[in-house]
């Protein structure tokens, strides 16, 4: 192993990356912009959702219910309607997400001590948003019931649920999503940097020139891996600062444990990137290859949908996905305050993925050459 040669190659890789003002921009600006945009945009929480109310009752109870709706930060009553026929167009044209239809004798029924009926018509085209909105309404209705009973001296409900959300006390979905974005962004950057590195040289014909030097494939591999990892670590650090400072997500665990995870994750991303690079003949193929890996890697990582909800066969597939492990680490360190001991089962699979993919790309360097 010749360290001087490896350093020379790594240095050359950095120069090649940084001397070109366009590639320099691509490395720095987009990830930070993406972090900011995704961070603010990506949320399951729904706020100020436009809704319509069709109140057929006009009694005290229904008015109180509507004032509760009005007071909720989640909903905004944009339309008051007066007849049944108005419901469908509102939903069809996506003017409102839901219509609250209060039955004619709502207040009477409640006053008599029986239940008042409310029909909710939801736009089910986005099932996720619809069910979240329904949940909010349910919560609101429970609160309405309690308040009504208290005010009218009725001791009704026997079971009172009071929830406490651990790790994410305010149940902000941002706390769940943003640490995941960290994983996604550094995966994209490192994968692209490494996937393009060999393909670019192959396209320019410089890879042959490199192969005829006394450098061994393993030395070329290390020299090529270093820039991707260094760029990834720098980017991760910048993003971490943004997450903690700007989005105020608590970093509760051991930062060393997080960085160990970052390094292993980047190492495996580098291995995959170099593998794609070694197979590709042109940069275009390398980019296609990188995206062919990226999209399923993000979807099958637990980034947005839990792995436990996936069919079993697909769950097995996720074991090959380094992002899967990294997301557990990054969420674990951020929200649960985990340290090395609890994360060990996430570290070693990434190490194995790194070793196998790096070895395979080293082999490909020599055997995939025309």
């Amino acid at each position: 192993m010749n360290i001087a040669q490896i350093i020379a190659l790594a240095k050359k890789e950095f120069l090649a990356l940084l001397r070109d003002s366009r590639s320099r921009m691509v490395l720095i600006a987009p990830p930070i912009f993406q972090m900011l945009i995704f961070g603010f945009a990506a949320s399951y929480d729904i706020n100020n959702v436009p809704i319509a109310v069709y109140n057929q009752d006009q009694g005290v109870a229904s008015r109180e219910y509507i004032s509760k709706l009005n007071g909720s930060p989640n909903f905004e009553i944009t339309t008051i309607i007066a007849k049944n026929a108005e419901i469908a167009p509102l939903i069809n044209n996506r003017e409102v997400l839901l219509v609250v239809n209060i039955e004619p004798n709502f207040s009477d029924h409640i006053a008599q001590g029986s239940s008042g009926g409310i029909q909710v018509i939801l736009d089910g085209r986005n099932s996720n948003t619809a069910s979240i909105a329904m949940n909010y309404l349910a919560t609101l209705s429970i609160a309405f019931n309690q308040k009504w009973n208290e005010d009218h001296g009725i001791t009704g409900t026997n079971v009172a649920l009071s929830g406490r959300y651990w790790f994410n006390e305010n149940l902000q979905s941002r706390w769940f999503i943003i640490p995941g974005i960290l994983g996604m962004l550094i995966l994209v950057v490192t994968l692209l940097v490494t996937a393009l590195s060999v393909a670019r040289e192959r396209e320019a014909g410089t890879f042959d020139q490199l192969l005829v030097t006394p450098m061994r494939p393993v030395e070329i591999l290390i020299g090529k891996a270093i820039p991707g990892i260094v760029v990834g670590i720098i980017e991760a650090t910048i993003i971490l600062v943004v997450i903690v400072q700007l989005f105020e997500i608590p970093l509760r665990g051991d930062i060393g444990a997080l960085y160990l995870g970052i390094v292993l994750f980047l190492l495996s991303a580098t291995g995959v990137g170099l593998m794609i690079s070694a197979i590709s003949v042109t940069q275009q193929q390398a980019i296609l290859g990188a995206f062919l890996f990226l999209v399923p890697a993000v979807i099958l990582s637990g980034f947005s949908t839990p792995i436990a909800n996936m069919p079993e066969v697909i769950q097995w597939l996720t074991y090959l996905n380094p992002l899967r492990y990294f997301l557990i680490i990054v969420r674990g360190v951020f929200l649960e305050g985990n340290s090395y001991g609890l994360l060990i089962d996430q570290y070693w699979p990434m190490l194995i993925i790194s070793i196998v993919s790096l070895m395979f790309s080293g082999w490909l360097f020599k055997h995939r050459m025309y």
Partner: protein, 588 residues
Amino acid sequence: MSDAALKLSSVSKLFESHGRVIKALDDVSFEIQAGKVTGLIGPDGAGKTTLMRLISGLLVPASGAIEVVGIDVISDPLAVQSQLGYMPQRFGLYDDLTVQQNLDLYADLQNIAYKDRQPRFDQLMNMTGMSPFTKRLAGNLSGGMKQKLGLACTLLRSPKLLILDEPTVGVDPVSRRELWEIIYQQVSQVGMSVLLSTAYMDEAERCDEVVLLHEGKLLMQGKPKDLSQPLSGRTFHISVEGVRHRTLQQVLSNAPDVLDALIEGEGVRVVMEQVVDAKAIVLPQVLTQETHGTVSIDPVKPRFEDAFIARLKTKSTITQQTTIAPLSVSSSADKAVISVDNLTRTFGEFIAVNKISFNVKKGEVFGLLGANGAGKSTAFRMLCGLLPVSSGKVSVAGLDLRVAAADARRRIGYMAQKFSLYSDLSVTQNLNFFSSAYGLSGKQQKQRLAWAITTFELENYKNTNAGNLPLGYKQRLSFAAALMHEPEILFLDEPTSGVDPLARREFWERTNHLAEMGVTILVTTHFMDEANYCDHLVIMEAGRILAAGTPLDMKNLARNDEQPDPSMEDAFIYLLNSNDQKHQAVIA
């Protein structure tokens, strides 16, 4: 003049690159006559392609006017484009379509009426000799056939003015001759006017007229013969018995009154600075002091190439240490440094290299000649260990580079076919990287870097990105990078492809010098005349070796009463024809 097919009046074109303005064309004016073949000659970067693109209306000049068959290009490019056919250096054939589909596509693009198509196709396919291949995929055609198909596509509408950008580069000599025949046919039968650029000086001589461009300026225009006329009395063929032509060339090119010395046959062809009498030429002392054989100096007829060189060559400043120690003919150690035995490489069904065998001795310049697609590069890549062999044996310095320890590669230098250094890195950074990759460091590395910068005259470009270098300098840089670690064996893959005669001379001067110092050199080329620089060579065609031997051996094969003094190209064509006959005999 009303019969001018093309008229340029003070045309200029500027390009802006990295904040600098480059004058690609500077006040160029000339006319070409209808029904003539005009050659556009000039070194790389002279502005030939820019000029052709301007004429075709693909670029707009900064100033000046261009008229094609009386139509102003700038105001009415579409009208001009319907009158002219332009074949760029790399014609846009679709590799995944058959020959016929390519023709159909271009017929569609050029809006040719359906009823006229079939007769025109037949005519063109007959003329190019491609009728049997209409169902073949364009990607599977040889380089020569691709060019012929490109030409056929350009000729579909029978343009009035045909513009060809280096149509014969990398094409085998036979196809080159055929392409020329087609062009002449168009001129004589249809009265087409042709403007073509070429890097081959012998082709320039075939033109009715040539236009010489240099650094965006028009230097001269005229009949090739007229242009070379002023040089008569300045060109000689010199040979000294017992002195190797390479040594002779090196000594002569450094002699004070010699402008240019070029290896030709067994001697050296020189262009003197002034008109002299053959008897008045005094050879440098080194050549005469020892007991060498007879010196013969014969005046020869000047060629267009001489005019080109005389006009453009500023006497080389490469002051090489003229240590002409090994004047003796002893071909040093007879040990084979490179040996190739029944080497074969297949890609699926296709046999790229078919059982070739040869040996290269130490300190030899060994040439691998052949047209594009003959299998040279494939053989070459196997030698360098870049490509696994299908069968057979390769050994370089006693080792197979593919499996040998990495250190074995320290002994070889490699210069790839196309420019393959890092374009985004500066000259110094490139050299630094490659010297480090070969394990140089510290003082030694600094020394070699300084050596490379001075020897290859890169001082002014030290901090320029390699990608922005002029072509000739790119080639110098590649060569320098391959030599940083002082290799014993040098692999040069098409080092002179696309390089103009000046840069080619300079390159061979350096290569000769290295060979004189004992470096073994294996070089591939499709320039047949470059074979003269080799001690031994093999000619490849369709993956096989057609012939092996010294350049003289090859030429002797083709020598007969009709061709008392065949050129290397004649020898190649002879070999190819006799090979075909053998082939047919076998089939029969």
